[in-house]
């Protein structure tokens, strides 16, 4: 089982960094067919061709191969041990070497890691994954989702409080305003907007991550469709070059809310390649 977990995680990380899900390919094809701006259409076609080449070669979609973010789902009769977490971590290391990931782990003490004076670890496996998120699932499996988070969306993402005044529309207005600003600055659009609404910064960000796991391009809620439509009306377009396709879809997850006038909202304008995600069942009970 040890080697199984390591190799499964390794290959899943490579898949996350080198392929589009089928519903995303279909969404791009719909966007290409609907786009009337020739430059925007060219960018969309080039991004899709890049995805096909990366999938064929099992090579990175983008040279910023991203920071691994892991979501682990545990079914009713499944158990997770510390050794299994060690194996998952080893699988991530091996996956980063195999992809290959960009060697962008920063070395040194706290201060040197902040100012980047400690140098770069030449080993792609020197990139540490973010803290793992664990949640329950109904199926009797131990299921791992691996997402690779790039730097561009991290620069433009925002987590902040919104006073809702007992009106959902006000919160949506704020999400759209943030998204228009961040999508215009991103440079690597079209985006998929990942949105979390919760009671704390931690919870909202966690929901933003889970929205990328659960979101589907072919199934959009009314709120998701409204956000996408309104941001696309800004005519930002792919790479900011104009056109109707600034956002391919919105993945939004609303968690439990506080009895209060405030909502904590996280909006990440994920780039044209994100969510870079792949999923594997590590164990079945």
């Amino acid at each position: 089982m040890k080697n199984d977990i390591i190799s499964l995680v390794r290959d899943t990380l490579v898949e996350a960094g080198s392929s589009f899900r089928e519903d995303k390919k279909a969404a791009y094809k719909r966007a290409i067919a609907a786009e009337t701006n020739e430059k925007a259409k060219w960018v969309l076609q080039t991004v899709l061709e890049n995805a096909e080449a990366a999938e064929k070669n099992h090579s990175p979609l983008c040279d910023d191969t991203g920071i691994p973010h892991l979501v682990l789902e545990i079914g009713p009769d499944c158990a997770l041990s510390g050794r299994m977490l060690d194996d998952i971590r080893e699988g991530v290391r091996q996956g980063l070497r195999k992809l290959p990931g960009r060697p962008m782990g920063i070395m040194g003490d706290d201060s040197r890691r902040i100012d980047q004076s400690g140098g770069l670890n030449p080993d792609p496996a020197g990139v540490e994954p973010a803290p793992i998120l664990i949640r329950r699932c109904e199926e009797n499996v131990l299921r791992l989702h691996i997402l690779m988070f790039g730097g561009g969306p991290a620069i433009r993402a925002k987590t902040y409080r919104v006073f809702h005044k007992h009106n959902t529309q006000l919160v949506l207005d704020e999400i759209v305003a943030w998204a228009k600003e961040s999508v215009a600055q991103l440079g690597c659009s079209p985006c998929t907007l990942a949105v979390g609404v919760g009671r704390s910064h931690f919870e909202a960000t966690s929901l933003m991550l889970q929205a990328q796991v659960d979101g589907r391009y072919d199934k959009q809620s009314e709120m998701e469709a409204e956000i996408t439509r309104r941001v696309n009306e800004a005519n930002i377009g792919p790479l900011g070059l104009g056109g109707n396709t600034s956002v391919i879809a919105t993945f939004m997850k609303v968690g439990p809310q506080r009895a209060s006038g405030v909502r904590i909202v996280c909006v990440r304008p994920t780039c044209c390649f994100e969510p870079r995600i792949a999923t594997v069942d590590l164990e079945q009970a």
Partner: protein
């Protein structure tokens, strides 16, 4: 589609217009946040010749160079965008990256007959168009060192030229 081969002449640079689609071939430089301020310091100190390349007519691609490949980072990051004017003055003719530039940078490009081009972040496709890579300076910066690579028909759109920007609404 306009074909550009490095080194780019003054005439070729002058003929480029916002919105032109181009393909770039030849040897080009690669540098981003960490190395560009160091390159500028060498130019300021009259030591540009130690870089081992003639900057006149060159292209600078705002990218790291790593086993993962190449792809544009945002050219409007502080350390990158602030390099565009002095590097244009030093002879760079085309700055290759992504993202909207500030008005002052667009005017500086025009002043030195240089242009800015936007390249899609298509690492997998660019990999098949890149045949050589070598560190020119500052090897201690790893993937962020100043590199020179050989490219064949990199696709791009002219994003700023003659004081105009493709991002103007």
């Amino acid at each position: 589609m306009i074909q550009l081969t490095t080194p780019i002449s003054e005439e070729a640079a002058s003929s480029l217009q916002v919105g032109d689609t181009v393909e770039i071939s030849g040897y080009i430089l690669c540098g981003r946040d960490a190395v560009l301020p160091r390159v500028l310091k060498m130019i300021e100190n009259g030591r540009a010749s130690e870089l081992g390349v003639d900057l006149r007519g060159q292209v600078i691609f705002h990218t790291a160079v790593s086993p993962a490949g190449v792809g544009p980072t945002s050219s409007n990051k502080l350390e990158i965008e602030s390099s565009i004017e002095p590097l244009s003055k030093a002879g760079i003719k085309l700055h290759l990256g992504k993202g909207e530039l500030h008005r002052e940078t667009i005017e500086a490009l025009a002043k030195y007959n240089a242009v800015y081009a936007v390249i899609p972040p298509v690492t997998a496709l660019l990999g098949s168009k890149t045949s050589e890579a070598k560190v020119l300076a500052f090897p201690e910066l790893g993937m962020e060192a100043l590199h020179i690579i050989k490219v064949d028909r990199y696709p791009a759109i002219i994003g700023a030229a003659h004081g105009r920007s493709i991002y103007e609404k």
